[in-house]
């Protein structure tokens, strides 16, 4: 299997797989971030494909790929909204965890132990590619984003989120999240692999996609939750790009 994922990175996530669905467990930060991520994803998809989120099964007929699906935190909501979902993860152990959970929810999701590169080589095509908190873990971001571009149908949408690289993100994402709050195991992230929004836009364009939007995910310590921000992309941020 051809892959751009560091074997060391995959092993770190495998060790955490069983904990995926505990909202107060090791993946608490992802569970906390999830409503905010889902707000962005659902609104971008609805706008791009002209869907009404208040209608039943608004994403019916859309084929969505969730790369780095983990336990299915994004795949399941997409399936609930009516989409045909493929969840791909390079960590083999995540696949049965995600499958068992989806089945208990009565959701049909095609979970596969594979990579973006392998699926692109096999000629798979999707309306939407979700590429959330993955690009900072891959060895060759441009090769990876190019595979994502190949996986999109013309007019397709890629949502890509990652972590900015600056002194604030070092303090927040590594010292804060891993050492102080212990939200994430130490060593989850390597600061040098973080990407600035401009660098990401540049990579996305080089991969053959057109960036159309970017927003920050900002943690509000008073409300103890995450909010979308137009301006503050200093730590966590998300982008939307289309294949023209």
């Amino acid at each position: 299997m051809q892959t751009t994922i560091d074997p060391g990175e995959v092993a770190k996530f495998e060790a955490m797989a069983a904990e995926w669905w505990d909202p107060n467990g090791k993946f608490k930060p992802l569970h906390m971030l999830n409503p905010c991520r889902l707000d962005y994803i659902t609104r971008q998809i609805a706008a791009e494909f002209d869907r009404d989120l208040s209608a039943p099964a608004p994403f019916k007929g859309l084929r969505i790929l969730d790369i780095g699906c983990g336990g299915g935190l994004l795949s399941e909501p997409m399936a609930r909204l009516g989409a045909d979902v493929v969840g791909a993860d390079a960590a083999e152990r995540n696949i049965p965890v995600a499958q068992v959970h989806a089945q208990a929810q009565g959701l049909e999701i095609d979970y596969r132990h594979t990579t973006a590169e392998a699926m692109a080589a096999a000629g798979e095509a999707f309306d939407v590619v979700l590429n959330m908190e993955v690009v900072e873990h891959v060895a060759d971001p441009l090769a990876y984003l190019t595979a994502c571009q190949q996986l999109l149908k013309p007019g397709g949408l890629m949502i890509c989120s990652t972590i900015n690289r600056n002194s604030k993100s070092y303090v927040m994402a590594i010292i804060g999240a891993e050492h102080v709050m212990r939200w994430l195991p130490k060593g989850t992230h390597e600061w040098s692999k973080f990407i600035t929004p401009d660098e990401l836009y540049d990579l996305i364009r080089k991969a053959g996609l057109s960036p159309v939007d970017r927003k920050g995910f900002v943690f509000n310590p008073l409300r103890w939750d995450w909010l979308l921000s137009e301006r503050d992309l200093s730590v966590n941020y998300v982008t939307a790009s289309v294949k023209r």
């Binding site: 409503p35 889902l38 208040s54 399941e76 909501p77 909204l81 208990a104 929810q105």
Partner: protein, 408 residues
């Protein structure tokens, strides 16, 4: 697995039907169980019960399509006068007066009789797709399973859904069955509730008199009628409740003097022992509590139904937003959002009204002077007055969209 509905609601008072409507308008399927039989629910004789709806509640009922059906039967509250009076003295010289002209939003609230509000909610439920109504059905058991929640009805019928909401009042059997304990205390007071006819017009003015035995509220109804909420020490209240109408009126008359002219009873009389009762948690696995099931407050500020409608608006918004982003709404992180939104607000109001009652249900001369002084200060400061008016209208705090009169 397929469920009978997405959400089961236990309790068909006023919050239950309002929640059913809000959820169904958001695309969720609802089943509502009500212990009362339909004939009883649809009765149109005035039984003496009426509610003071704050402006925000009126807006929520507007967004649910209810207000247009009942507005003609509602009495706008144009003024609120709060005064520190003693029996026999009538309205005291020191009083606080709030006028709706001081805020731009219009009347601070409306009085509506139970029969109109109840029937409008029933009609709307019958017309809204996605709502099953089970009147005359009592829940005898409830069980959380892996994929949902199942209730057993007295008729032997079983219903299943993804979650259960208890709107079944201050002794909520739904909360007890879920093992949710309650905290609270007895005030040693009982509220006597009735409606009266009076000779002189009320001009849309609501009165709150702080009497030593407990507060007395005179709330205007359409025509020359008013709703009375009258708190007395429990033993005395019980005696009055069981006394004949003439004795009851003879005790009531001197309490608010002669400013409404001669008075007569209109409809039944009710007695409610006053207790503060807060559920220790508003949520449990696949369960949420709404209204008095979550928080029974002192009716001193007439806030019970208004608080309940805020719960309804907040819970409906949390569940519908979760559904629209594809989340499983019956999970702890989603229900936690509802609890966080409502608990603080509720605790503040519960303790505030409790403190207020303790301060005012007292004949201590020093306290009386302090009260009169406090009322004088609030009277003199327009900013503070406007804040009190907005608070009474339910326009403060983090308002759910329905309470702003907007669809979810």
């Amino acid at each position: 697995m397929t469920h009978d509905a997405d959400i089961l609601i236990v309790g068909g008072g006023l919050n239950g039907p309002a929640l059913a409507l809000a959820l169904a308008k958001g695309g969720l399927r609802v089943a509502l169980m009500d212990a009362q039989p339909l004939e009883h629910l649809r009765s149109d004789t005035f039984d003496g019960r009426a509610y003071a709806l704050a402006l925000a509640s009126v807006r929520a009922l507007g967004a649910l399509g209810i207000w247009a059906q009942i507005a003609d039967h509602a009495q706008p509250i144009l003024q609120i006068k709060a005064s520190d009076g003693r029996p026999g003295e009538g309205i005291a010289p020191f009083f606080l007066q709030f006028d709706h002209a001081e805020i731009e939003e219009g009347p601070m609230g409306h009085m509506i009789e139970d029969r109109y509000l109840r029937r409008a909610l029933l009609d709307a439920m019958a017309e809204t797709p996605g709502i099953q109504h089970h009147p005359g059905e009592t829940v005898t058991a409830q069980q959380v399973t892996g994929a949902g929640v199942q209730v057993t009805l007295a008729s032997g019928r079983m219903l299943s859904a993804r979650m259960l909401v208890g709107c079944d009042g201050r002794n909520s059997p739904t909360a007890s069955r879920a093992g949710i304990a309650r905290t609270g205390w007895d005030y040693g007071q009982t509220a006597l509730v009735c409606a009266i006819r009076h000779d002189l017009p009320h001009h849309g003015c609501a009165h709150q008199l702080f009497l030593p035995a407990g507060p007395l509220a005179i709330l205007p109804l359409p025509g020359n009628r008013a709703s009375i909420v009258w708190s007395e020490e429990t033993a005395r209240a019980e005696a009055l409740h069981h006394a004949d109408g003439a004795t009851y009126l003879a005790a009531l008359r001197p309490r608010f003097g002669s400013f409404l002219g001669e008075i007569a009873l209109d409809g039944k009389r009710f007695a409610y022992p006053l207790r503060l009762t807060l559920a220790n948690s508003f949520i449990a696995p696949r369960l949420a509590l709404v209204g008095d099931a979550a928080h029974g407050v002192h009716p001193i500020a007439g806030q019970g139904l208004n608080l309940g409608l805020r719960d309804v608006a907040a819970l409906a918004q949390v569940l519908i937003e979760a559904t629209r982003r594809g989340e499983d709404f019956a999970t702890q992180p989603v229900l936690e959002r509802y609890q966080q939104w409502r608990r603080f607000d509720t605790a503040v109001l519960a303790l505030g009204t409790d403190l207020f009652n303790r301060l005012f249900s007292n004949d201590n001369p020093a306290l009386r002077m302090g009260r009169d002084l406090g009322m004088g200060i609030v009277s003199a400061l327009p900013g503070l007055r406007r804040h009190f008016i907005r608070e009474a209208a339910g326009l403060t705090g983090d308002l759910p969209r329905l309470m702003q009169g907007r669809a979810i």
